[in-house]
Amino acid sequence: MSGNEPREPEELPMTAQMMPETAEPEPVPAREVDDTVGVSQGRLILRRFLGNKVAIVSGILFLIVVIFATSAVGIGPIPGWWKHNYTTLAPQVGGGAPTLSLVPEWLGGSGISLGEHPFGQSRIGIDYFAMTMRGIQNSIIVMFVIGIGGTVIGTVIGAVAGYYRGRVDSILMRITDVFIVIPIIVIGAVVGRATGGLGVWLLAAFLALISWTTIARLVRAEFLSLREREFVEAARVAGASDLRIIFKHILPNAIGVVIVAATLLAAAAILLETALSYLQLGVRPPDVSLGLIISDNQSAFQTRPWLFWWPAAFIVILALLVNFVGDGLRDAFDPRQKRFSRRRTKEQSAS
């Protein structure tokens, strides 16, 4: 994943330090009076991230997909701009084939037009564009709820375990082990079977309750090393409370690990939800999920291949974009381009 061109991220601040009089090549807004200080860690990371074109383009594309899908079918009671609904039947148009046409007339096509059902219709006649957009929306909801929920739980557990060490640490880590023993798809299926009927928000919330283990281990390992550093000692001598040390002093230093792991968790969450829904153990009808519509229409793929290609393409696009952003973040936070390894986190927690 680190196969991008080699970069020298350290070069810019160095030149800025050595030649304070010459004009800086990078226009830094809100420049301080003292130029020789160099650039803050956060700005360095931001600059490295902005320098990663793939990640930036992926992030922008992802936002476009989010806005497009959400506005098409609307949120809750607010209706979207698309004329069809993802639950109502419509009369079959042309055997349900997609009416989308992208070949302009001067190339011999029928011109660029959307038509009545641009993505076609499902076997029973529901507009497939609306279904796909609703599926994307649900995937994104699941992604954010699991990504944020799992990250918050994992960070708190990992921080407490790593900061207090000793008995608290071993109890919390044994609890983590309990959840790690059960493969995520297995416990996810059980949770999905129980809570899938409650709607996508609650399903995602319950899935978040079981997907925090990796982040907890990563954050714990980070805290174990950071808590021994001088600035923590200084804060303690100054009379800071444990809570303040954890959240004000240590956590900002560990934020890189958290953000990167959260992005990867978000990408995994998309795949988890679609897989569970495909097994019909996740989102239930009449609501729609990209995995569910693939599973429902599977018998018709030979005659109506578009029933497969649209949801399949969007699952891959969503997961791919999030993975690219995550990789860009990892490179930005860790210029040595070291990858997270399952092995490394395992060792640290096993010791």
């Binding site: 196969g3 493969p183 297995v186 699952i315």
Partner: protein
């Protein structure tokens, strides 16, 4: 060390108990196990419900029922008594009876893809690391990103609905591959090979031309000989294949300048080639056992030649002999399988559409070891490819980053500085150290193997562990779910433990806290 092991076991037992309790309560509460009966219109509906409640103790609350189950499961720990009781399923089968069959078909499915994924993934990872930041590296990185973002069910459905039917249609239509497809394949292979070999433009051009041209020639030959319906190596193809293997294996392990190694490899290749002509009669009456014995004999002969003629470097010679003997004799067996392919195609149950999309074997198929072997192949091909694609990406990344890290170490510089060839530096000094973390990764992955490929098994309707779990969960049938869970949790904990021990044994820098 003993203290470490005992502590680990104690903790593992506690973790297992807690995890099984959570699984039990969650799955028992995940739905209504009487749902199908409540909706039924049978006259004795209430009786049926009462019978199921009595059989599965459904009147006991799940947290308490867990301890009833635990009482039965704990008896499994008593060896040789045979009182193991994991409860019954809803349809009144003993869980202890259905688990072994499910485990067997899962292992049958996942083993091949697991082994291929490791070999292929590590090999590609090594090449990308050696050609860091090249076009090949970039391409593989992109591909692995793509594979990471591909859900398992999507790959499986894609292969099943489009690939399988496409290939079957191709076989049935009796047409040949169109010229433009052959040219496309040739160009693609030329691009891949020149990117992999790399070097100055002149070398790249030569590599591209040779690989592209030979690919085109190969496919034209396939077309002319109707290869996909009458496959086989033939004496000439087998000779080329064995010769190539001998050269490549020798070059990788010992270097071609090592005459002794080359001779040992050639002797083993020649023996395999000879056996192709001598063993055909034996093959016709072979069973699976015969083939396994022949394979063992071949490897033994290979190792023996290394031992006898190895000279000063016996270990290396034995490795070369064994590997070459195993590979080349497997070509001979493979060729015999191919000879049975037309007969398999003509079977009335197959009817010219060999690639199956459902199940693990054609029901009611009778035939010798070759026919049933081909039958397993056609059934397990697609699920294996699906699993392979998914785990391949991970191994590539691990191997790449592992080798890059090792190649930056001081001892690699030392090895280069004392004038060792690049092959020795990579194969002897770097590769072995890179394989340490991979070995432990493999150990943990083996622990997860028995969990089965929940989704792949479901899509291809293979009755392994994964589909046992999914179908039981759908009926809220707690006992088989727990049986499944016990097996996967136990193997996962065991192999994690072994992985840690292996790491400590392989890497002297890692010490086990006693």
């Amino acid at each position: 060390m003993v203290g470490f092991v005992l502590r680990r076991i104690a903790v593992s037992v506690l973790v297992l108990l807690a995890a099984s309790f959570i699984m039990y309560v969650l799955s028992a509460n995940s739905g209504d196990p009487l749902l199908d009966l409540r909706g039924s219109s049978a006259a004795n509906r209430d009786q049926l419900i009462a019978a199921r409640v009595a059989a599965l103790d459904l009147d006991v609350a799940p947290p308490l029922r867990y301890f009833l189950w635990l009482g039965g499961a704990a008896q499994c720990l008593v060896p040789f008594v045979g009182t193991c009781d994991l409860g019954t399923t809803i349809s009144n089968a003993q869980v202890t009876d259905i688990l072994p069959t499910a485990m067997f078909s899962t292992l049958q499915l996942v083993t091949v893809s697991f082994v291929i994924a490791i070999f292929l993934g590590v090999a590609v990872g090594i090449i990308t690391a050696l050609r860091q930041y090249s076009g090949f590296d970039f391409g593989v990185t992109l591909l692995s990103f793509f594979l990471y973002s591909l859900p398992a069910f999507l790959v499986a459905v894609l292969l099943k609905e489009f690939m399988a039917l496409g290939f079957n249609n191709f076989l049935q239509a009796q047409t040949s591959i169109p010229i433009w497809v052959i040219v496309l394949i040739g160009v693609v292979s030329a691009v891949i090979w020149q990117a992999m070999i790399a070097g100055p433009p002149r070398r790249r051009l030569v590599v591209a031309a040779v690989s592209g041209a030979s690919t085109v020639v190969l496919f034209v030959y396939f077309n002319l000989s109707d290869w996909f319906r009458n496959p086989g190596f033939g004496p000439v193809g087998l000779f080329l294949l064995i010769g190539g293997t001998v050269v490549v294996i020798t070059a990788l392990i010992a270097g071609l300048e090592n005459r002794r190694a080359l001779i040992i490899a050639s002797v083993n290749g020649a023996l395999a080639y000879l056996s192709y002509f001598l063993l055909q009669g034996l093959f016709d009456v072979s069973s699976l056992g015969t083939l396994i014995i022949l394979g063992i004999v071949a490897v033994a002969v290979g190792i023996a030649t290394g031992l006898l003629f190895g000279g000063t470097d016996r270990g290396q010679a034995m490795r070369i002999g064994g590997v070459v003997a195993l590979l080349t004799s497997s070509y001979v067996v493979l060729d015999r399988f191919m000879q049975s392919w037309p007969a398999y195609l003509d079977l009335p149950r197959i009817n010219g559409r060999p690639i199956a999309t459902v199940g693990a074997a054609t029901p009611g198929l009778k035939g010798d070891v070759w026919i049933s072997g081909i039958d397993s192949f056609t059934h397990l091909l697609l699920p294996t490819v699906a699993l392979l694609l998914i785990s391949f990406a991970g191994y590539t990344r691990y191997a790449r980053s592992g080798l890059l890290e090792v190649m930056g170490q001081d001892y690699i510089r030392t090895a280069r500085a004392k004038g060792l060839s690049e092959r020795v530096v990579v194969m002897r000094h770097a590769l072995r150290n890179m394989l340490i973390p991979i070995a432990t990764l493999i150990a943990t992955d083996i622990g997860a193997l028995l969990g089965g490929a929940v989704i792949t098994e479901h899509v291809f309707a293979i009755s392994g562990m994964g589909s046992l779990f999914v179908s039981s969960l759908r009926r809220v049938d707690v006992n088989p779910i727990m049986g499944y869970f016990l097996v996967i949790a136990f193997t996962a904990i065991l192999f994690n433990f072994l992985a840690d021990l292996a790491y400590a044994a392989l890497d002297p820098r890692v010490r086990v806290a006693a």
